[in-house]
């Protein structure tokens, strides 16, 4: 593949990179730095009880596959096509119209044709054809089928960990073929012969053991909250109390664990605590269910279920009435589309205490969450702000020109598009949307979702985030935007680096941070800075 330099962008053109489909079907196994993931640690494989635990290395020739690996994969594939209609249908009906081809941010950023969603699916589909369709069995490569070899496994590991499961392609597909679904099932297949990615497994194992991805002990979680209440006292002069593991509270609050100390998640975290205090909410946090996210979801059905069960179990143990969830992307895809389905009897058990979510401040019934009993904090805040239950001084955000990045999972797996905009516009005077093709359901991914936040994928992430960065650049140049919000913990980890990499003088943070910033708390001291210590009033010049 020929590299194109940044200065040559004017002359940028798309070239055909494989002379014909036979070349395309040949596995690409070149492990280039910045594009391949590290192999999972033996420790985590064993702790999670995964099949064929072993030490292996992505760069080795021999991946130490189990002797009958081929049989395992074929059997697993047969099992999956009966278990998932999505898999069977998506394998069968793609017409290769190409509507998805340039929708993938990794394809846009890398120019690698195997990152086109249609080709990413073909990597699996070609094997499916070979072993499960008449035409593939009879006509072989002329029907687009290919033999399952070790190189195919390597190619899968390479390319199914270059997909952030953002579902952007699925929006444009005339049949709704969802590459996220295909990627998940491909990872499930890889897992069946003991191939997992290091980063996802470290987080998932930590989450099963300690209750959060960061591996914080309960004491660590409490320490973080301690720092938060100290910070809040310093900023506002107000003593606030945060209930933890408190039985009989009305609401269980669950947030992604990145919020406990990462930057700039931190300001969103103290934002939640300030807002809940001001509203006088009867809530509790939990150290057992300290994590909203679920990295098991990026690995396999079983590991996802191991992590998923905690929230309902904790809701039952503490006897809460409903659950409030913080700002997170894949967490909300799961809470919205998977949580109650994953949970078997733990759901029915939790229903003994859970009730339909009602906002205690406004009396609004969250009808759309009547089964899962879990409400998004931005739905909650939109309702609160609509009823003017908080005293807001919008001018406190006047140093910011704000734009909003719709996180993939909540945009395309939930449809939470207007809530953040309503909340931001209620607390900010200057809000500007990015161009249409870059927001709402067409939003570009930050480039680091679904386990790709791993350091070894840095180049891929920065390239994959390029379309998002360019859209931010556009609103920065046009409106002077200096602040991007995103309701996702992965975004908050990925986008600051991305903006730095693409040299954009823009900062980023969560939505609730802006609410807390503009909120006038009763009994607060005079404020002349925002939560980050930036002076209020004058336009904020962010350093590159």
């Amino acid at each position: 593949m020929s590299e194109q330099k940044f200065e040559d962008l004017e002359k940028f053109e798309i070239r055909q990179q494989f002379s014909n489909w036979k070349e395309l079907l040949k596995p690409t196994t070149e492990m280039r730095k910045g594009y391949y993931s590290y192999a999972a640690l033996l420790r985590d494989q064993e702790y999670l009880g995964l099949p064929y635990p072993r030490e292996w290395n992505t760069l080795d020739e021999d991946w130490k596959l189990p002797p009958n690996w081929k049989e395992i994969i074929i059997n697993k594939m047969d099992e999956l096509r009966r278990k998932y209609r999505s898999f069977q249908v998506f394998m069968d009906i793609c017409v290769r119209c190409g509507a998805c081809a340039d929708k993938c941010h990794y394809y846009i950023g890398t120019g690698d044709p195997k990152n086109m969603p249609v080709v990413r699916a073909e990597l699996l589909r070609s094997i499916y054809r070979k072993y499960f369709t008449t035409s593939g069995k009879v006509f072989g490569e002329y029907a687009g089928a290919r033999e399952l070899t070790e190189d195919v496994i390597k190619e899968w590991f390479l390319y199914y960990f270059q997909c952030s499961e953002c579902r952007r392609c699925s929006v444009f597909c005339p049949y709704g073929i969802d590459t996220a679904e295909i990627t998940m099932l491909a990872r499930e297949l890889l897992n069946s012969i003991g191939i997992s990615q290091r980063f996802t497994l470290i987080s998932a194992a930590a989450c099963v053991r300690t209750g959060n991805h960061l591996g914080l002990n309960p004491g660590g979680v409490v320490n973080s909250i301690q720092y938060a209440v100290d910070d809040i006292k310093e900023i506002t002069g107000i003593d606030i109390e945060v209930p933890v593991n408190k039985k009989g509270a009305e609401i269980l609050f669950v947030t992604p664990s990145g919020d406990y100390f990462a930057q700039p998640h931190w300001f969103t975290f103290i934002g939640y605590l300030m807002v809940f205090h001001e509203l006088g909410l009867d809530y509790t946090m939990s150290t057992y269910a300290a994590e909203g996210g679920n990295f098991g979801f990026f690995h396999s059905f079983e590991v996802a279920k191991k992590i998923n069960q905690k929230i309902y179990k904790e809701a039952k143990r503490l006897g809460v009435k409903w659950i409030l969830g913080g700002e997170c992307g894949h967490m909300w895809r799961i809470k919205h589309q998977y949580m109650a389905t994953f949970a078997d009897d733990t759901y029915e058990d939790a229903l003994k205490v859970l009730e339909d979510p009602v906002n205690p401040v406004t009396g609004t019934v969250f009808e759309n969450a009547s089964s899962t009993k879990m409400v998004h904090v931005l739905e909650f805040l939109a309702d609160v702000l609509k009823h003017k239950k908080l005293k807001i001084d919008k001018s406190r955000n006047d140093h910011l020109r704000v734009t909003h990045h719709d996180s993939c999972n909540i945009a395309r797996g939930m449809g939470l598009l207007e809530e953040p905009r309503f909340v931001i516009k209620s607390v900010c005077n200057y809000y500007y949307d990015m161009p249409d093709h870059a927001i709402r359901e067409k939003s570009y991914c930050c480039g680091s979702g679904a386990g790709l936040l791993a350091d070894e994928l840095f180049e891929l992430r920065m390239r994959g985030g390029m379309p998002r960065a360019m859209a931010v650049k556009y609103v920065h140049e046009k409106y002077g935007v200096n602040h991007v919000t995103a309701a996702c913990a992965i975004d908050r980890a990925a986008i600051p680096t991305l903006l730095q990499y693409w040299k954009l003088p823009v900062q980023m943070g969560g939505v609730t941070e802006l609410v807390a910033n503009a909120m006038v708390m009763s009994g607060e001291k005079e404020r002349d800075t925002d939560l980050r210590g930036n002076p209020l009033g004058e336009y904020l010049e962010v350093e590159v």
Binding site: L9, W21, R82, K83, R85, S86, V89, D92, C94, V95, R96, C97, G98, A99, P113, M116, T134, S135, A143, G144, V171, F172, P174, Y175, G176, I177, D178, E181, T210, P218, G219, V222, I232, D239, V244, N245, T284, T287, K305, K335, Q337, T341, D344, Y347, N368, S370, S371, T372, A382, D383, M414, G415, L417, P435, R440, E441, K442, M466, M470, Y474
Partner: protein, 320 residues
């Protein structure tokens, strides 16, 4: 000649029709026996949540909450190609991403033309010809051309026959001319296009260039449909070519991507409402997986958890 006529006019069409019907039913059976474990709607618009939030008319179908909204979504996908309509193309600089509707346009023209041409063909099979077929026929043929030198009578140009050809040629052109499309096109993509082109071109030739005896064809078609085929039909060679292409297409159909026409109804990202938080979706093959329950968690972190209890389950600012 008549033996060949029987083979091409009767045996092959029946065989192809048999493969088509059994094959399509089998594929549909295969899909329907596969489980739907999760509600994985792709939401392409604002969800149904709070009443004061802006939810446009189209949002209701792009992110449907009720069953009928979902049905409308699938119908819009089928008849209007809603998702393709959203198509954009990424260009540098990024903010100039352009909306591109060519694929949508020609895709839609092709499918609608094909539908109308199929309906027009009813007049060969049905006697008397239903009114709606006649109506479509006369609407479609509103262009009258008098080509005295070419054919001695007035020719009604059937618009859809020509648009069908043009759309197919465009769909072929983009696979050959565009680098991305050329990269991922498989032989099967071309086979489908060539079969369709064969059907369309032989059909057009019969209509405009090489006239064939329609009465004979009608007799054959009605005989086939009533399972009383003529024993030795006399068929024009051009018609035989046409019927061979149609038979090949029918027999190829169930083994190919052409199954997308039935598959769209089974696509879980399109045919499910976006209401999983209001209505729990049940996974038919769900099974319990053991995780760490609270008692085990307590054993592992006893000291920490006891300390939280001593704090009265509340974190306060430190006294300075």
């Amino acid at each position: 000649m008549s033996q060949l006529g029987f083979l091409v006019g009767v045996v092959i069409p029946y065989l192809a029709g048999f493969i088509f019907v059994i094959g399509v039913l089998y594929r549909i059976f295969q899909w329907s026996r596969s489980a739907v474990p999760f509600n994985i709607t792709t939401t392409s618009g604002q969800q149904y949540s709070l009443p004061f939030l802006r939810r446009t008319f189209m949002d209701r179908f792009d992110s449907p909450y009720t069953r009928w909204e979902t049905a409308v979504r699938v119908l819009m996908e089928i008849f209007l190609f809603r998702s393709l309509w959203k198509n954009v193309r990424y260009e540098l600089p990024a903010q100039n991403a352009v909306s591109t509707k060519w694929l949508w346009l020609f895709g839609l023209v092709f499918h609608w033309s094909l539908l109308i041409v199929l309906i027009r063909h009813f007049r060969f099979f049905l006697q008397p010809v239903p009114d709606f077929v006649n109506m479509i026929q006369s609407l479609d043929g509103f262009i009258e051309v008098h080509l005295g030198w070419f054919q001695p009578h007035v020719v009604h140009i059937m618009v859809t026959g020509l648009t069908l050809l043009i759309a197919l040629l465009y769909l072929l052109y983009r696979r050959i001319a565009f680098p991305k499309e050329r990269t991922f096109s498989l032989p099967s993509d071309y086979i489908a296009l060539f079969l369709l082109l064969g059907v369309v071109i032989t059909g057009l030739l019969m209509r405009y260039v090489i006239p064939v005896d329609v009465a004979h064809i009608k007799e054959l078609a009605q005989g086939l449909l009533a399972f009383r085929p003529p024993a030795s039909p006399e068929l024009h060679w051009m018609f035989m070519l046409h019927i061979l292409f149609v038979s090949a297409l029918l027999a190829y159909f169930p083994f190919s991507k052409l199954m997308h026409s039935a598959g769209i109804f089974f696509s879980p990202t399109r045919n499910m409402p976006n209401n999983p938080r209001a209505k729990r979706h049940i996974n038919p093959w769900n099974y319990p997986v053991k995780g760490v329950d609270y008692d085990e968690f307590y054993e592992n972190f006893k000291d920490d958890l006891d300390e939280i209890e001593q704090m009265g389950y509340v974190v306060k600012p430190e006294e300075v």
